[in-house]
């Protein structure tokens, strides 16, 4: 693999996850990600991209394998091993280290203003004072260009604004890594750019980011590395330009052929 485990922020080893008994969604996935990298995960529908992301922030508990985010380790030997306190505690800690932005833009809390959406977790989870949380929140909202929208309700926001607010909400928890699950796939084409721009800005600040995406152009331009996932396995993991221009695996070639000449897909 590209990175050595010792210098990596995120280490995944032999990860398996399935939802039924009939075959795995993720089979023996291993990957290391360095701090500050922007990694795009691409692959056909149903290849396990989203599941990998959800395993990474422990919304789904892995069946077996090893997972490390920063200093927090989670290990499960066999699928039939009951989740114990140590595992659940680790899963909760990992969720605290990882920020996540979801596919649809309906994941903001509709009963709270944009500002309260952002301050909620710092106040509830980190027990920040309202003033401190507000300060953090306004800083993050400014970063995504939404300081004017602080007192609006999510229902009045466009899809792009919603996704930027969701990014600010995740950033307010000061995560070590940001995960995005197809953050622009539900957006109108003209709104995609503003969201991608925020991710590029974060990259230049040194934020570690993992993005499941169909935006091939963005993946190629902005990513430090691209992972091509197919049928629950990592087929290729390489530098963006290398993977796009000289794919080694025939499955990668086949997949990329669909996107030739397309700036915006899906």
């Amino acid at each position: 693999m590209v990175n050595l485990p010792e210098e990596s922020l995120i280490v995944i080893k032999n990860l398996r996850k399935s939802f039924n008994d009939d075959g795995g969604v993720l089979n023996n996935v291993s990957i290391n990600i360095k701090e500050g990298d922007l990694v795009s995960i691409i692959g056909p529908s149903g290849c396990g991209k989203s599941t990998l992301l959800r395993c990474l922030n422990c919304l789904e508990l892995i069946d077996s394998g090893y997972l490390r985010v920063g200093d927090v380790e989670l290990k499960r030997d066999r699928p039939d091993q009951r989740p114990n306190e140590v595992m659940l505690d680790a899963a909760h800690k990992i969720r605290g280290e990882v920020g996540m932005v979801f596919q649809g833009y309906n994941n903001l809390f509709p009963h709270k203003t944009v500002l309260r959406n952002v301050t909620l977790a710092p106040m509830v989870v980190k027990k920040m004072s309202p003033d401190a949380a507000r300060e953090v929140a306004m800083k993050q909202l400014k970063k995504v260009g939404l300081e004017e929208y602080a007192n609006k309700y999510p229902s009045t926001l466009s899809g792009g604004e919603s996704q930027r607010a969701a990014i600010a909400r995740a950033l307010a928890m000061n995560p070590k890594v940001m995960l995005y699950d197809e953050p622009t796939s539900a957006l109108d084409p003209e709104l995609v750019g503003e969201v991608l721009q925020v991710m590029k800005d974060l990259d230049s600040e040194g934020m570690t980011q993992i993005i499941v995406t169909h935006e091939m152009q963005f993946a190629r331009d902005a990513s430090d590395y691209i992972v091509f996932l197919d049928k629950g396995e990592i087929v290729e993991y390489d530098d963006g330009d290398v993977l796009f221009t000289q794919p080694r695996n025939p499955r990668t070639k086949e997949f990329l052929r669909h996107f030739t000449g397309m700036a915006v897909a899906c």
Binding site: N57, L59, H92, R95, G96, V98, G99, M100, F102, G104, N106, N107, L108, F109, P110, H111, L120, A121, V124, V125, Y153, S155, T156, A166, R169, A170, M173
Partner: protein
């Protein structure tokens, strides 16, 4: 004489709970003597009756609703005076007088209680204080009917499920019309819908004795005996009461009471072996007849209704207190049940489900009886207020729990994920994200339930509380007027529920403004539904 089999239910509203009376008696007889009456002090005698029991037994004084009058009240006062004790009145629904006695709510019960085998299994009876019979009544111009036998082939009205009805059925070949309110029976007799009416003599006298259009006819029919009930354990009090009754009879004091109430009869003369002429005026009866002549002017009526307002006001406060306390219990407990059912480990979820199904699946009336009359046998004695509030609260908690559950399921799972992904624990996500949204969903159905509870709270009248419904029964019985007070009480119930309806509308609108992008969302929905109705109409036309 016709043997007495059915008990003689003395008043109209007694019929409403007729079916559950056997259950209450059963409960009372099964219950251990844990609740046996104990006169707290030697100089106080607590006695139970039903102020709704009606005239002339006991009823609110038309001139002062706070005062209870009636020939039975006079008898109790005389007994207490003879024994040198003070009286404390405890009101209870007539059907529950005996269970209330065994529960220890009062030392003795008196209110047209008959000596029947079922009653005698649960309690002891004093010597009879009154005997009466059935009285036949016809229009004054009727000359065809002079006895019960003449009623064959005629239309005769009587009280539903009463001894009189049974007598008429035994006679055979009578077109029997049964009534809940005796006043209606005599009205129908007067206007010709009925040929005759058969009622207990005291009720006949007090319903129609002053009506010049109606006459009483024929010899006494049947025999009905009333006595005072005390618990089996309290033989000392029974001895005292019997001694007092003998004394009152022998000194002529009882006779005086019956004379003032116009209740002396040949049967009583035989019973007391006293054939002397009347010694005192029937003052009490005359007062009654004075206020109950049918032709009361409208202005006098309205004035009388205005006089009801303080009574209804007090009763409305009782209704509100019980309802709000019960709703508070229902809302909090229901939330716990819903959360347990959805999120708790298997055994707790199963327990919550069992509780919900049990509470929903059994009548709240039975639950109230059980809590008030049943629980004392295991040492849990609740006051009427708390028994009512807890009973209604537990019952409604089951319904609230199911409303909350549907509210919780209405929140998309992505909201859970978003909250958990921010590092919240499940409980934090629940408290901060899911519940606040779920509550919005459930406000309309919960308001609905509160209004339903407001009306169900009338059930507390069966456990001795005087709420709106009970107050209605009392005043209507006292004045012989179910029309005006009925409208008043209905309006009061409506008004009591209105603030909650308003609050619900307000909350719904406010929340819609937040969730759906201003009033737009709310209004959009109505516009869309209007369009849908419109298309439907059009498709019908084409």
């Amino acid at each position: 004489m016709i043997p007495l089999v059915l008990k003689r239910p003395a008043s109209r509203l007694r019929r409403a709970v007729f079916l559950i009376a056997p259950l209450a008696v059963l409960l009372a007889s099964v219950i251990s003597p844990a609740g046996a009456a104990t006169g707290d002090e030697n100089n106080v005698i607590r006695w139970g009756g039903d102020s709704e029991g009606g005239f002339p037994f006991m009823f609110p004084n038309p001139k002062n609703h706070d005062e209870l009058i009636g020939f039975e009240v006079d008898i109790v006062d005389e007994i207490a005076r003879y024994l040198g004790k003070k009286t404390v009145y405890v009101n209870n629904a007539w059907d529950n007088l005996i269970p209330g006695l065994t529960r220890g709510l009062y030392d003795m019960a008196i209110n047209g209680l008959e000596v029947t085998p079922e009653h005698e299994e649960a309690v002891n009876f004093s010597i009879p204080y009154y005997k009466t019979f059935l009285q036949l009544a016809v229009r004054k111009e009727n000359l065809d009917i002079s006895s019960l036998e003449d009623c064959r082939g005629k239309v005769v009205g009587t009280l539903k499920d009463s001894y009189a009805q049974m007598v008429l059925e035994e006679l055979g070949d009578v077109d029997i019309r049964t009534y809940i309110v005796e006043a209606n029976t005599y009205e129908d007799l007067q206007n010709g819908r009925l040929t005759a009416a058969l009622f207990d003599s005291p009720i006949a006298i007090y319903s129609a004795g002053f009506n010049p259009e109606i006459k009483f006819i024929g010899p006494p029919i049947g025999e009905i005996t009333y006595a005072i009930a005390v618990t089996k354990e309290n033989s000392g009090l029974l001895r005292d009461i019997n001694e007092a009754l003998v004394h009152l009879r022998d000194t002529g004091r009882l006779r005086e009471i019956y004379d003032t109430w116009n209740l002396w009869s040949p049967i009583m003369a035989a019973e007391f072996n006293d054939y002397s002429p009347r010694a005192v005026e029937m003052t009490r009866y005359n007062e009654w007849a004075e206020t109950h002549r049918p032709e009361v002017a409208l202005s006098a009526r309205l004035e009388r209704y205005a006089g009801f307002l303080p009574d209804f006001g007090m009763a409305a406060i009782v209704t509100m207190k019980v309802s709000i306390t019960a709703m508070f219990i229902a809302i909090s407990l229901g939330l716990g049940l819903a959360i347990a059912r959805v999120f708790a480990p298997g055994w707790a979820a199963a327990a919550a489900t069992a509780f919900i199904e049990f509470m929903r699946g059994t009548p709240v009336l039975i639950q109230l009886f059980f809590i008030f009359y049943g629980l004392p046998s295991i040492g849990v004695k609740l006051s009427p207020f708390w028994a009512g509030a807890v009973g209604l609260g537990l019952n409604y908690a089951a319904y609230e729990a199911e409303i909350y559950r549907s509210g919780l399921f209405a929140i998309p799972s992505t909201q859970w994920e978003a909250a958990l992904a921010l590092g919240m624990t499940r409980w934090q996500a629940m408290r901060e994200v899911i519940l606040p949204q779920a509550i919005r969903v459930v406000i309309p159905p919960i308001t609905n339930d509160f209004i339903s509870l407001l009306k169900d709270s009338s059930l507390v009248s069966i456990i001795t509380m005087v709420d709106l419904t009970k107050a209605y029964g009392q005043l209507a019985a006292a004045y012989y007027d179910y029309f005006g007070p009925g409208i008043m009480v209905a309006l009061i119930y409506l008004i009591l529920g209105l603030p909650f309806v308003k609050f619900s509308r307000y909350a719904e609108r406010r929340l819609a403004e937040q969730d759906k992008g201003g009033k737009r969302g709310h209004d959009n929905f109505y516009r869309m539904s209007a369009r849908w109705r419109h298309t439907n109409l059009r498709s019908k036309e084409s």
